[in-house]
Amino acid sequence: MSLKVAYWPGCVSRGFTPELHGSMAQVAPLLDIELVELDRASCCGAGVLAEHNQELADTLNARTFALAQQVEGAEMMMNICSTCQGAQSECQQRLDANAEYREAVNTTLEPEGLHYEKGITNKHFLWLMVEEIGLDEIAKKVTKPLNGLRVGPFYGCYIVRPTDRVGIDDEHPRDTYLDQLIEALGGTVVDYAGAHKCCGFPIITMNKEVSLKQAARHLGDAIDADADCLVTPCPLCHLNLDLQQPLAERYGGRDLGLPVLHLPQMVGLALGLDPKQLGLNKHVVKPTSVIDWSTSVVAGVE
């Protein structure tokens, strides 16, 4: 039976990382996920709208939640962007905490015929794979295991902190899901310092040097730990780690050249999809260490 979700792709997955939105659409049917795209929903604010005006960010995300709650038969809402997930979780925490506040926000939504009911289930694709589909099920669907591929998980910030807000506890060790998934797909997890650190992207326009030094540091640490590539559940991290990598090399003072995969791309490769279908040709750092382009087979597979 397929899992129907109200799907919010976010802005960046349709802007500077179109390969993320594209690869999600390719992977969903293979995992029996039915995506109902929320085409009327708006930007989550990425923390910047909340920094400007908290009520504004809360209202826009309550609007998104209300739209998701209108999708008939959808079991939950799903994100493919960690920043969306984190920013929405922050707003949901306030909205769900206080009835009076929620009512005030709903009053603003009323003219559009929308109303947010407390307690929406909203999960990132990563959480959904582990908690709703199950890693055993996913492992059964693998046709091209990532044998021999050394993958560094890059979680970023928004889906691992603050732990209580993003729902990390003993039963839901969400800060380890990427590691577990890499193993379920047949890959090898690379242990390096940057897995749960910040890519630096939020200050790219404010302090480019500090921003890209962070990216360069984590890429360098992963290279030193013999990683073939990184995988990230966040397109904003991808911007700093992949798109900006040539500049990060300059600020970091060393050669890098480490491919960075989006989460659905890694899953898609293991499920046998063609690298080009997954948009891997669109990356700034060519994922040659990950893919043998002549045969479209993941490196290391005999």
Binding site: G15, C43, A46, N53, N281
Partner: protein
Amino acid sequence: MPAYTLRIRRYSPESGEAAYWEEFGIELGPHRSVLDGILQAKDREDGSIGIRCSCRAAICGSCGVRINGRPGLACHMHLEEAEATSRDGKITVEPMGNMPVLKDLITDMEAVHWKKIRRVTPWLLPDGPPPEREYIVPKEAMVDVTQSMACIQCGACVSDCLSMEVDPEFIGPAALAKAYRFVGDPRDAQRFERLDDLSQDPHGIYDCTHCFNCIEACPKGVAPMSQIMRLRRIAGADFDISDRNNGHRHEQAFVTLVRQGGLLNEAELLPRSYGGDSWLGKFHPKAGAELLSSLPVIMKAVMRRKVTPGGALIAHKITGHKNLRRIFDTIEGRDERYELNLYIVQPDDAAPEKAGHAGGDAQGTAASTPPERSPNA
């Protein structure tokens, strides 16, 4: 058979030897603290173990360390809990990060932490002669700063600040939370000067990457990052400070683009952050200079068809984006911003009685578990 094993990082700079790990068996019950464990090892096995401590009750802030890689107070974590979060059953204790180590677990708080605290002028700067008796302010006006007042100066947030890791000059979470304590204080007469200073400094409020590490680290629920966001909000919205770091311009451009089309359009957002929040922003010399320096990246992105010129230049808009303008106008038209501070207002289901609004018993609520606080604290 000892109940627990501590793996302590030992280091004496003057010895000339590299740092090393040393293990100690501890015979204590599960509900004794990691600090009790360290003190037992010091007492029974090696009196030279360096640890700073005093109150043993999470009040003085002396015993900040990293336990299993995470910052916190050694006196504030049970041995049992520490063992459960360890990688291999041995509790790892090391000095805090981002600060020089003086000996073993003792870091030089003066070199980093206190210097930065002094940087933000951590005292009240009222106007005119002091009143004959005390300053009288409405109770509600002070509630908001209670969260930053809860800081015990332990340095846990400084230890794990990811911006400071690459930029040692970053003023950092503890000092900026302290800055908010005075910016949020109605008695202070130099709020603009404080904010202008912290906005214009390239290592000030706009150097924070929003990584939540300080919120996670703080054993007292201060949520320094949330205080930094408050500083930005007041600097931008109330004082209209246009900083040279593009911080406020970036925020304005972001808000405008979402208002207009519902999505952020990176190809517009980036030049506007440098050149100013209008369609003309991209023709500003500063935007041009930025474009030029990013040319290698842009060329690659276009070559790989990651970004197409058409896709970048034509603004994408969501269906029914006009509804958003109404929402923006309604909320931005309010006389006062409506903010729900969960440090002060308890969630409905956690409050013993129906929670009131800001201005309630701040003393009482601040002592309970705030939502932004780390569960391992």
